[in-house]
């Protein structure tokens, strides 16, 4: 007995030196060019220090040099996975500033495109999250389906990734014949794959063991860090700008806001953040179906597009629910045709700032999963 006690003491006095590891900036699982300086005690992460800026492309400086119309392509390149949504925030802000009211048809097309892009974004997010956890098959499945969404965008705008399709006051081009059928086809596909993936990935025992109860983000911390989107909703807070502050025509649709309810694990862990995305895809499908039904095909999408965008002096802070969370654009105009200042509140930038807080005390391998579950895109972090 006495001997055992002595052993205990010795064990407590054992200290292991902490080690500093460098992850990134070029690492396949940092989702881009993020660099993390990690202090580990054995396998346990004790401190994480993110270093950003490896993709700092001087977006805000560019905005001051470009005219309002020329800014749109640069907005695309911020969050390049969900370019349609980004453009939408910008053109909505500009329309608010100029007092334009776009026609119903334009609004419906915008909603459909934004929701399609939301699906595409979530597909990449869930697929790469699966990759981080070691599942390769979902990546192939999701990318197969994403390609169909990309084709629709390509037919509309001519580009596969960065569209430059939205215009202040309208759209660059009208939709094509057969747009409706294409969208319905996509919805069918997305539903089918999600059903398959439910068994293959989400409810897979190994996946649950890896992701449940890992990286728990309590709701009050999430609000203090101003998290948004699936990260915030994963913690069980029902907050979605499409419902809380309905912009555009979102009040005409019937849809739910999925939250992490702790069905597996506890609210706020990686599994719950991920399931929010999967369920959101289904809600987006519902919105697309309703929008296609209500939409009226007649009308010109370009009639309100001004020759020269020259808003009155003033400022506006526009935000909308992007796939990753709410993107805010603070547009200051001084009455000329060039913006005085555009500040982008990058969703990923804000969501990423929570990483040092929630990854302490977990295994090193879990850190990669926590990063994957937050779903960042470095173009938006560094701008």
């Amino acid at each position: 007995m006495g001997e055992l006690k002595r052993l205990d003491l010795e064990y407590n006095q054992l200290t292991s030196d902490k080690m500093r590891l460098n992850v990134g900036p070029q690492h396949p699982s940092t989702h881009g060019v993020l660099r993390l300086e990690v202090v580990v005690d054995g396998e346990i992460v004790t401190e994480v220090i993110p270093h950003l800026g490896y993709l700092h492309r001087s977006f805000e400086k560019y905005c001051e040099q470009m005219t309002y119309v020329q800014v749109i392509p640069y907005i695309d390149r911020m969050d390049y996975i969900s370019a349609m949504n980004n453009e939408w925030v910008y053109v909505m802000g500009m329309e608010k500033l100029m007092g334009l009211k776009v026609s119903d048809k334009v609004e419906y097309i915008r909603v459909i495109l934004a929701e399609l892009n939301r699906i595409a974004n979530h597909q990449i997010a869930v697929a790469t999250f699966g990759l981080d956890a070691g599942a390769f098959t979902p990546f192939l499945y999701y990318f197969r389906d994403r390609e169909h969404i990309i084709w629709v965008f390509e037919k509309l705008s001519g580009a596969r990734l960065l569209y430059n399709y939205f215009r202040v006051g309208g759209l660059a081009a009208d939709i094509y014949d057969g747009f409706k059928e294409d969208c319905l086809n996509i919805v069918k596909r997305v539903r089918k794959t999600n059903e398959e993936l439910m068994d293959l990935l989400i409810l897979n025992g190994i996946f649950i063991k890896r992701t449940a109860n890992v990286g728990i983000l309590p709701p009050d911390v999430a609000i203090s860090y101003a998290c948004s989107g699936p990260v915030l909703r994963g913690s069980g807070i029902k907050y979605d700008l499409r419902k809380d502050e309905p912009y555009s025509i979102y009040d005409r649709f019937d849809f739910d806001i999925p939250v992490g309810d702790g069905e597996v694990g506890v609210p706020g862990d990686c599994w719950n953040r991920n399931i929010v995305r999967v369920r959101e895809m289904e809600q987006s499908c519902r919105i697309i179906e309703q929008a296609l039904e209500q939409m009226d095909m007649e009308g010109d999408v370009k009639e309100l597009v001004p020759r020269r965008v020259k808003p009155p002096a003033g400022e506006v802070y526009m935000r909308a629910e992007n796939p990753k969370g709410d993107l805010g654009l603070y547009i200051v105009s001084d009455g000329t045709d060039k913006p005085e200042r555009i500040k982008a509140r990058g969703t990923s930038f804000v969501n990423l700032s929570v990483i040092p807080e929630i990854s302490k005390g977990y295994m090193f391998a879990d850190l990669i999963l926590i990063l994957g579950s937050i779903d960042i895109v470095l173009g938006e972090v560094d701008r």
């Binding site: 070029q26 993709l55 492309r57 001087s58 400086k61 640069y74 390049y80 596969r160 173009g379």
Partner: protein, 177 residues
């Protein structure tokens, strides 16, 4: 050019191909390229799509490696910033010879959309490392990736392996004449 094409022209009734050892080595090298994917920005997303089911980049015999020491070529996809440029150089120097560089997208070719006021963007990765194949586009279409890969294979196929120095000297003296 390719080794297999010569099978159409059989020697002594077929089955025998006459050629240089160099050809067969180059043939092998060009058909199994391992690459270090240096994904930086939007172009990397397109490259992910390229890697996935529809376009299947691996049919070129390419396998993604995460270490520069095992890679035959490096694929720079996206905007190179100053903060990143030094890392690219280090990684490039760590690769074993022979090594190749594919620069993907306008950004890494010349600065792309950020060429004018981008105070933090390197205007072309060829300012720091030599580039073999440029793939244009913002982002390039997957077909362009395929074209670029074929270009690289062609380049490898035509390279000299043995007596390089001697041949080089001869070429130079030929040039001087």
């Amino acid at each position: 050019m390719g080794l297999l094409n010569r099978l159409d022209d059989p020697y002594e009734g077929g089955g025998i191909v006459l050629g240089k050892i160099e050809d067969i080595l180059n043939w092998g090298r060009s058909k199994s390229n391992w690459y270090l994917h240096f994904g930086l920005a939007c172009c990397a997303i397109e490259f992910m799509a390229m890697n996935a089911s529809h376009f299947d980049f691996m049919r070129f015999g390419t396998i993604p490696r995460t270490s520069p020491r095992q890679a035959d070529f490096i694929m720079i996809t996206g905007t190179v910033t100053f903060k990143m440029a030094e890392r690219i150089k280090i990684l490039y120097e760590q690769m074993a010879e022979p090594k190749y560089v594919i620069s993907v997208g306008s950004c890494s070719n010349c600065g792309g959309p950020y060429w004018e006021h981008g105070y933090h963007v390197l205007k072309g990765v060829d300012k720091i490392i030599p580039v073999d194949v440029y793939i244009p586009g913002c982002p390039p279409r997957p077909e362009a990736f395929q074209e670029g890969m074929i270009k690289l294979q062609k380049k490898i196929n035509e390279q000299a392996i043995f007596n390089k120095r001697k041949r080089l000297k001869k070429e130079q003296s030929d040039d001087n004449k």
